[in-house]
């Protein structure tokens, strides 16, 4: 028991991988067994992370549940884990969405074993990013999560999966090259990859010192942009977003849930955990540019979503739109670090990450549900389905409203906080973003109208099955959490707020 308590993060991190390795030895034909083993293997870390939440003490400074072991001493990298309120929120989101994703994948029938194994490996990759307190370890998990996701898209995706998966991995890897180089540089200059140490050593490098024959400020600015581009591709921020619609659209349903729900958060988390603390000066200098890009992402993401006829692609573009608010908040906080506005904006950013995780995963799941029944994602092929599928229709409307940011649901709280925090800092960008919010309403309503309302497309009458119990179990927690946060956000904001206040 003592071991469990002191190694809680390690257990949460590696139980999925260990289970995946154990599953290698299950017979391929035992599909039901494999599914249930995978579900249980994803539920254990979920419940452990809930326990983590309960044991977490928001009022304590710094990181908690730290673990520190030698990993690669020759280059001063260690296995250093730890979480604060920001990462805790995302760890819980990840374990929740992975469990729901596994459950949603019960409808997969092709090579179930390989699929589930990859899905569990993916969870470890994602969690590792949120837990790492070592820059190299961060990069390790950052990069390694790409592999299972690549194969999930490439093997279980829809028609255009080869193109989409290759674009996804090459885009992300190419974006990470700069990050890789910058991390190496930081390691060489600082003699450590340990984040708490780097927060002091790397930031204290300043003044007239020279690195590699260049002034420190120049080197730092270049390294700053290397970080920013890597994370901006992942978020994604306009104009680095073009991999996203393809990858999200072609991925299998649960893959899209994780992509939108968790993978995009890695980029935003990178900004919060690394860019702002490691580059406070550069962040402030370039905050305006970042705010501009965020505004573009919000507006173009919404317009792009509106322009789609493919239901899944529409939802994919909506992620660009919503994640734009996270980046806007980060930009505002970078500019106004140390002020209440920064804290409010970042509260909004972290909560928006959580909320978007819920709503985007829900939306992708619902797209998957309707696709499994109709085998089309063409919005013009639906029509009037509310009459046939009232329960599904109700759920879809609810989830779409959560995504749109209807007051009373989670999205409203977080977007309000972002706008409230960013308004005094970047008034024009925030105002434009709110116009973008208007377009959000437009495309969400467009989707609802095309799918549920209007004249019934006779093609579907008679044989469409209503959402089943398993699918309801997948979507229910997402809806419930969205509602709870919308009505009473204090329980989660308390954790986030204290962490954000300590940092910024």
């Amino acid at each position: 028991m003592e071991f469990v308590v002191s190694h809680l993060l390690t257990l949460i991190l590696f139980i999925p991988s260990l289970a995946a390795l154990a599953m290698l030895f299950l017979p391929r034909e035992e599909v039901r067994l494999i599914r249930w083993v995978a579900l249980i293997a994803s539920l254990i870390p979920f419940f452990l992370s809930l326990w983590l939440w309960l044991r977490f003490d928001p009022s304590r400074q710094g990181f908690q549940f730290e673990e520190l072991y030698d990993w690669y001493p020759a280059i001063h990298s260690s296995y250093h884990l730890g979480i604060d309120g920001i990462s805790l929120t995302l760890v819980v989101l990840t374990t929740l969405l992975t469990s729901l994703g596994v459950l949603a994948s019960f409808s997969i029938t092709d090579r179930v074993k390989a699929y589930m194994i990859l899905f569990l490996f993916l969870e470890t990759g994602l969690l590792g990013v949120f837990m790492s307190l070592d820059l190299l370890l961060f990069f390790v998990f950052w990069e390694v999560g790409l592999v299972p996701m690549y194969f999930l898209i490439n093997q279980w995706g829809s028609a255009n999966r080869n193109y989409a998966s290759l674009k996804f991995i090459l885009y992300t890897m190419a974006g990470s090259l700069g990050l890789l180089l910058a991390i190496q540089l930081i390691g060489v200059v600082s003699g450590t990859f340990d984040l708490p140490l780097l927060f002091q050593r790397w930031t204290s490098l300043a003044g007239d010192a020279r690195l590699l024959g260049l002034p420190v400020s120049t080197v730092k600015a270049i390294a700053f942009w290397a970080f920013v581009i890597a994370f901006a591709i992942k978020v994604p921020v306009w104009p680095f977003h073009t991999w996203l619609p393809d990858a999200h659209t072609e991925a299998p349903t649960a893959g899209s849930m994780i992509l939108a729900g968790v993978l995009l958060k890695l980029g935003a988390y990178g900004f919060l955990r690394l860019v702002l603390p490691l580059y406070p000066v550069e962040s402030r200098i370039y905050a305006g540019a970042l705010a501009f890009l965020a505004t573009m992402a919000i507006i173009f993401g919404a317009l792009g979503a509106y322009g789609q006829d493919d239901f899944k692609r529409l939802v994919a573009y909506s992620s660009i739109n919503h994640m734009g608010f996270v980046v806007l908040a980060i930009a505002a906080a970078a500019w106004a670090a140390g002020t209440p506005n920064a804290v409010i904006a970042l509260n909004g950013a972290v909560l928006q990450m959580f909320n978007h995780g819920l709503s985007a995963a829900g939306m992708f799941f619902l797209v998957g549900v309707i696709y499994e029944r109709t085998h089309t994602r063409d919005l013009n092929a639906y029509g009037g389905l509310f009459a046939l599928l009232p329960a599904y229709g109700g759920i879809l409307i609810f989830t779409a409203m959560a995504s749109l940011g209807l007051p009373g649901l989670g999205g409203f709280i977080s977007e309000f906080l972002v706008v409230r925090g960013a308004w005094p800092v970047f008034t024009l960008a925030t105002a434009l973003s709110m116009v973008g919010l208007l377009f959000t309403g437009v495309y969400v309503l467009k989707a609802i109208k095309k799918v549920l309302h209007g004249p019934l497309n006779e093609r579907w009458s008679g044989h469409l099955k209503e959402i089943n119990a398993r699918e309801a179990v997948v979507i229910a927690p997402l809806m419930a959490l969205s509602l709870v946060i919308g009505l009473w956000p204090a329980w989660i904001l308390d954790v986030i707020n204290r962490a954000v206040s300590m940092w910024f």
């Binding site: 290759l166 090459l170 190496q184 590699l212």
Partner: protein
């Protein structure tokens, strides 16, 4: 007198190879079993050496020394340090898996296995040599099995060409090195080929600057350095599978290792002067090799050129002459050896069954041979430098080494990483996924021994990637010695 473990590792394959030649050709089972047993003995003993090497003490251990030609100052002198111990292990692994995947060879198996084992003795011998003459002896011992195996068992279309090209290139390279080595012998004036003595010979700066490139580039031909690399892809492709594994996996490391041991360690001031040229050429290796791999249409050529790219990183690590770069190179030599052996093994498995290596005519083989596919994917991830695989823990320190001496090299060489990702994913997609062509419908799965070989090689790479400390302290202890010679520059 303790148990002569290194000699047993070195000479067991040779003895078994000669024994096999004495057997009647029909007794194929006995021949195979003897080959497997000899390779297994070498591997197990090299694991023993690996496990019992005293890292804290460092230096050369398991030393054996016997007079050989005392009149010329030549002795049989073997010993291993932190850099050669992993290479012994790697060679043992590749020889054994090479025997395993060649199990069903039908064309003159007696000679095949015999020559393969003699090749094994050659590489073990080089890695353990502490005598310069003896190093050349083992180095050249590889020539005849390499040549014969390519010519006799190689790919009919190019085997004469490939074998001739490879032999000439490597022969010229080694002759050039030999000339340099003789110059070193005479300049030292100590009447000895003992490399430990030569380390302390105190060659003049002018001498080192003059002779370093001769020795280094002579050996680096076998290491695949640009522009002397072109024997490698042709040779690898022409060779039968097990020989490709040994050539790319171990022989290229023999070249790099000899370049380090003889050129860099004995003439460190020369290395200081010429490192910029090495850095430049090796960077071309990395990026150009990857690019050429990208545009190949022959499955085996892709892997052949990928070796050029990865060996470039080894040589870059050497040329950094600093701790991180050298540690990375030590790791990369091991990692690349295992990885490329696995690559070529899988290419062979595919070719044996599909009878084509044309990437446009392959496809969908994952369902036919999942073990081979997964093995190839794991080797591919190593190749891409994916974290948690041995390639990452090897390449990352090399890049850190570059940052300390030549940041520009890091910025260029990193392009190799992304190109590698592109060609690996392309090949994986073409060969193992997508539509299964109709003519491949009858393709069968790989054998149990094949699976075992794939598993052995894969496990090593993952284990090392997850927990690099399994090997890094060992390599570090060897690197300390190199640094003490080059002055920690």
């Amino acid at each position: 007198m303790h148990f002569p473990i290194l000699s047993v590792i070195i000479f067991t394959p040779l003895a078994a190879g000669l024994l096999i030649l004495l057997l009647p050709a029909e007794r194929k089972t006995e021949i195979r079993v003897i080959a497997l047993a000899a390779a297994a003995v070498s591997l197990l003993l090299s694991i023993w050496v690996y496990a019992s090497y005293q890292t804290a003490a460092g230096g050369y251990q398991f030393v054996e020394r016997l007079p050989w030609l005392p009149a010329l100052g030549i002795s049989y002198y073997v010993g291993v340090d932190g850099i050669s111990v992993p290479l012994m292990l790697m060679a043992g692994l590749v020889v054994l898996t090479g025997v395993m995947i060649s199990w069903n060879i039908e064309d003159r198996p007696r000679e095949f296995f015999s020559f393969l084992l003699i090749l094994g003795t050659s590489v073990f011998g080089v890695f353990a040599s502490l005598d310069l003459f003896q190093l050349f002896f083992f180095y050249e011992l590889a020539v005849f099995p390499k040549y014969l195996m390519i010519v006799v068992w190689g790919w009919p279309k190019t085997r004469e060409y490939g074998a001739m090209k490879l032999t000439l290139y490597l022969f010229i390279g080694s002759v050039v090195s030999l000339v340099g080595a003789l110059a070193m012998y005479f300049a030292a004036g100590q009447h000895t080929f003992d490399m430990l003595a030569l380390e302390r010979a105190g060659y003049s700066t002018a001498f080192q600057r003059l002779w370093f490139p001769v020795v280094f580039f002579g050996f680096a031909v076998l290491g695949g350095i640009f522009p002397f690399h072109s024997w490698a892809p042709d040779g690898h492709v022409a060779a039968p599978t097990a020989v490709s594994m040994l050539l790319a996996g171990v022989e290229m490391k023999v070249g790099a290792f000899a370049a380090l041991r003889v050129a860099i360690m004995l003439m460190p001031e020369g290395a200081q002067m010429w490192r910029w040229l090495i850095l430049g050429l090796a960077t071309i290796n990395v990026v150009y090799g990857a690019w050429i791999a990208m545009i190949q249409t022959d499955f085996k050529y892709v892997i052949g050129f990928s070796s050029i790219s990865h060996m470039g990183l080894v040589l870059i690590g050497f040329a950094t002459l600093n701790h991180d770069g050298l540690v990375g190179s030590g790791m990369q030599m091991f990692s690349h050896g295992v990885m490329t052996a696995l690559f070529f093994a899988v290419v062979g498995m595919v070719y044996d069954r599909a009878h084509t290596r044309d990437l446009t005519r392959l496809g969908g083989l994952y369902r036919k041979m999942p073990w081979a596919a997964i093995g190839f994917i794991i080797a591919g991830l190593v190749s891409m430098g994916m974290p948690f695989f041995s390639g990452f823990v090897a390449e990352f320190p090399i890049f850190m080494g570059m940052w300390q001496t030549a940041p520009a090299v890091a910025l260029v060489a990193v392009l190799g990483v992304i190109i590698t990702a592109a060609y690996i994913l392309r090949v994986v997609g073409r060969v193992f996924f997508g539509e299964l062509p109709a003519e491949l419908a009858g393709v069968g799965d790989v054998t149990v021994l094949d699976k075992l070989a794939v598993a052995m090689l894969s496990v090593v790479m993952v284990a090392l990637g997850v927990y690099p400390s399994l090997m890094v302290p060992l390599v570090e202890s060897g690197v300390q010695h190199v640094l003490s010679l080059v002055g920690g520059a």
